[in-house]
Symmetry: C2
Subunit: 595 residues, 2 copies
């Protein structure tokens, strides 16, 4: 059986105590009934499901991988299809789907924690679900009423799954270079030809049909990114009853062998005159895809968060169990030749790094999800607009910070296990291999950083950043008595990040290389700014509750973890502010031949 532990108390702390989710949701007409009790029940039940059904298949999926058969079908690892059937039957696939199409209509701030646990238990398996959620979102936003009726019902019910078919061999980060073609057939349909690569869940045996969302060019399309359109291309064409009918000419022509996520088929997809239908307007496919990708990027952050959580739980269990070496803080005892390694300072440093990142990131990610709910459902247009602006700002930070830190965290989890961390048997090295793709897909973290600095900060003259700053200033003000040192640290970083922003804003007109040269360091500093303000809030709440005499052990643990974060992780932000200000010349001077 699985040893996954639902981090329920920590999730409750973020949703109920830090974010007041119940109160925020009560202002959203379609979600006013979602109270704390409902949230807790969903989290508890889903954690049990993920732990008991998905976690036991994690190593199986890694070992067996997926198989491409002669008929170009793909077989998933043993148990994957059955687990999917159970998942759908239990109603987990429709959790946040639109009630207008049979969904349960729960908010993103509940879906996101559920996803976190799903990805903690089985990353590769969870990706099937994650991609369906992305396709759902895209069709929900841009589909015609008919397309919505046809596809959303099936996707929400989990009967069909979805994909995003973007990348081609010559077009990865630069989608402007893509070549797949769509020719109008006169009947409203299009005939699609081309080659796609790196298509997760592109072919499998979990569901009756696969709804591919495909980027391609119309015959008269302009070159570059302004000539890309979005199409829905189902594996089986829907028949008159909306069921999977005739096989469409879209096939899996190969599976990639890769470092991890072996249970997730990474497909080469061949469009061999497949029938598809336009989604949204002609030549506006890329902006449409980006709307969906924003959601997907938040999702990838949570995938990575799940891996950090899963690896951390295993590292903690090992560190409490493994007896090795004498701790410097435990009195010597001749009868006890060694202590559990969790009593060694450096093992604690490694575990606390994971714990402090995981909990701080959780607050940032759930906050973003709650803002997604407000941006979509708040009755006040200005409120929606501000929430949306914050989501835009936070999304690249969540994606890049959580995925980079998943490598840091899973790496430290391995290190806690020593040699046992490197071998298959203990199951920790898989998290590290699964995590390595996360800083790459849905836009590399370098792209996230340029999106943040260029599009989300500089392009609107700092408006979004002002919004964020006001939230941070509230946390600083609230904790100025309870945690003056921490409040000062956050304030200083806010000030310095602002200075950095103004400095870079002054550079970019004359020197277009300066923003991309500074972006990655800028994002990391910004992430620490946000996370430090949330740890400050957590510490303030914990102090307040301790004064009231509540749940001492829990709130003391929040204070101790906040202390660790401020003492040992936050100072990294200042390194990145310094490195980021080094300027583009330090990158561009070296002659190309000298590399």
């Amino acid at each position: 059986m699985s040893d996954f532990k639902t981090p329920l108390r920590d999730m409750q702390f973020v949703l109920h105590e830090m974010l007041n989710a119940e109160q925020v949701l009560s202002a959203l007409p379609s979600m006013e009934a979602v109270d704390a009790a409902i949230i807790d029940q969903v989290l508890d039940e889903s954690g049990k499901f993920m732990g008991s059904v998905l976690a036991p298949l994690n190593a199986v999926g890694d070992e067996q991988g997926c198989t491409l058969n002669d008929d170009r079908s793909v077989t998933t690892p043993d148990g994957f299809a059955d687990a999917y059937r159970q998942f759908v039957e239990a109603g987990w696939s429709s959790l946040s789907a639109d009630p207008a199409f049979g969904g349960q209509g729960l908010p993103a701030c509940v879906q996101i924690p559920v996803n976190e646990m799903m990805f903690a238990c089985n990353q590769a398996w969870g990706m099937f679900v994650g991609l369906s959620q992305g396709a759902y979102k895209c069709l929900h936003t841009f589909g015609t009423p008919e397309q919505k009726q046809t596809y959303l019902t099936k996707l929400g019910a989990g009967e069909w799954t979805g994909t995003m078919c973007l990348t081609e061999p010559q077009a990865g980060t630069d989608l402007g270079l893509l070549r797949s073609k769509a020719e109008p057939q006169g009947d409203g349909a299009y005939r699609l030809t081309g080659q796609k690569i790196f298509i997760s869940a592109g072919e499998h045996d979990l569901a009756d049909n696969i709804v591919h969302l495909v980027l391609a060019r119309l015959p008269d399309a302009p070159a570059g990114t302004r000539g890309i359109s979005l199409f829905v291309v189902p594996k089986f064409l829907p028949d008159e009853n909306g069921e999977a009918g005739e096989r469409n000419a879209i096939y899996c022509s190969g599976l990639e062998e890769k470092m991890g996520i072996h249970g997730s088929p990474t497909c080469q997809i061949s469009l061999e005159g497949a029938t598809g239908w336009l989604v949204g307007e002609p030549n506006k496919g890329l902006p449409a895809m980006f709307v969906m990708m924003n959601e997907a990027r938040l999702g990838v952050g949570l995938e990575a968060q799940g891996l950090s959580v899963g690896a951390y739980q295993k590292a903690v269990a090992y560190a409490k169990d493994r007896i090795q070496g004498k701790s410097p803080v435990v009195p010597r005892d001749k009868d006890r030749p060694a202590d559990p390694i969790i009593q060694h300072p450096d093992v604690r440093r490694m575990l606390l790094t994971q714990k402090a990142y995981i909990e701080g990131q959780r607050a940032m990610a759930y906050w973003t999800a709650l803002l997604v709910d407000e941006a979509e459902h708040h009755p006040d247009a200005e409120h929606r607009k501000q929430a949306h602006a914050l989501v835009e700002l936070l999304t690249p930070v969540v994606k890049a910070f959580l995925t980079d830190n998943a490598l840091i965290c899973t790496n430290l989890a391995i290190q806690c296990l020593g040699g046992y961390g490197y071998i298959r048997e203990y199951g920790v090295e898989q998290y590290f291999r699964d995590a390595r793709i996360k800083p790459i897909y849905e836009g590399t973290n370098g792209i996230q950083a340029m999106d943040l600095l260029g599009r989300k900060v500089l392009m609107d003259g700092g408006e979004r950043l002002q919004l964020l700053s006001r939230h941070i200033e509230q946390d600083i003000a609230a904790a100025s008595q309870t945690h003056p040192d921490k409040a000062r640290a956050v304030g200083e970083l806010l000030e310095q990040t602002g200075e950095f922003t103004r400095w870079i804003g002054g550079q970019v007109q004359d020197s277009p290389a300066e923003a991309p040269a500074a972006a990655v360091d800028y994002l990391r500093a910004m992430a620490h700014l946000i996370v430090s303000s949330l740890w400050l809030r957590a510490a303030h709440i914990a102090t307040t509750r301790l004064e009231a005499g509540d749940d001492r052990a829990f709130y003391q643990s929040k204070l101790d973890t906040a202390d660790f974060y401020f003492a040992r992780l936050l100072p990294e932000a200042h390194y990145h502010l310094q490195a980021g200000r080094a300027g583009a010349a330090s990158l561009m001077s070296l002659a190309e031949e000298a590399f």
Copy 2:
């Protein structure tokens, strides 16, 4: 064929221009004939051999792995045994072996660059050789004359290979817990029983015999680390002619499945009443093993360096070839929709990080190797002693910094390739998987850090650190006119590291947890101090040569890379000085149950 490029010019720069190896070696009686021409020839020839014979087997070894057969023999991947035969026939196994036992007697400062290239081309294969070098060193230092005659000749000739059998399931970092037993047989031999794990090259088909060096307890041995003795336990007992004779009762009982280094068999070794002989004194096995381990730790640093080099070369080739996105520094051109990604600032940041670490680390590692040569062969006892003291100080830094940075560098190499970095076909992800074991074995990097701070810095009252500081001050003084800003940065870091050392020195008497709590951050700051002083030296030399009009492109590239290092990597040291001073309380406060 391989696309490995011997970094000959960079190696020459370090050995001849930064370290004056020829001049240093000319003072060592046994090595006075080793001039620059000989060094260059060995490096050039060995690079060709490694690139043409070993590199093509790298992916093969990863894919096939090793097989344990029913008779407990182990089959290595296709081509491994043949490559070993060629390696031995070409004389590479005896390069630095003692001429008294048939070796070529070349210095460590030549062996180390040869190893770097071997590990760049094929990590798993190289480990067979690396372990033999370690066993050679141990027997050379502690063996009886008879043992030396029997084993060193065979090991040096490459006819036999070696292992280090330390770890047991319950005894990893804490070797004091080991249980294997050695009972005297009355004839000078011992009968060994027990279980060892994680024994690299513990069984294979490359050579006629395997010389196991085994830690075990004598019947009357005290508990803990003071009751451990070292034994030589050959797979085949040497017959009267010194050839492999009767099969000894030491067997491979299992192979670990692991994340990487698949071509290297990681064996469970079963001692089933095997015959062995004591090496060195009874109950002094651990100190003996540590002498050998110091060399091995330097070796592991170079293994990691090789991985960084190999991955970097592949990332550079890809970045020059891959066309994607428009560079902000290249004039727009309608006919060219995108530029090679090496023209993008953030890709350059990733490549320069690898390049600056690789070249700075190379200087540190080769310097350490040259000090090993001086420590062993210099005619003046005081000179030998000082060189040895510096080797002791530098070794844990080389091991930890080069292995941690191999993860940073191979990770960035993957990121340069985007999605292609994650799949097998492009061969970069293997470096990352192979690299992950390096921060663990031969003492985890946490152990290296405690060794540095506790044993090598604090225990001698800072004497070794004073020696190092004098070297660094010379570099600062030499470059104070040519590179005043860089010289000042190194000086400040030297000052602050000294302060940190004095601060921690004042803590440890009363608070034994403070040193282990600060050690990892201390080591990283110390590594930057050393590497920054070497980059300062490199920049000074480059400026001097440029003024003389020499080889402009090469020396300019050294200046540009030094600029990058000082602007973007060195500031990290100050983060670690700050984090390291946070104190043990930030690690030890959290209740164990709260993890």
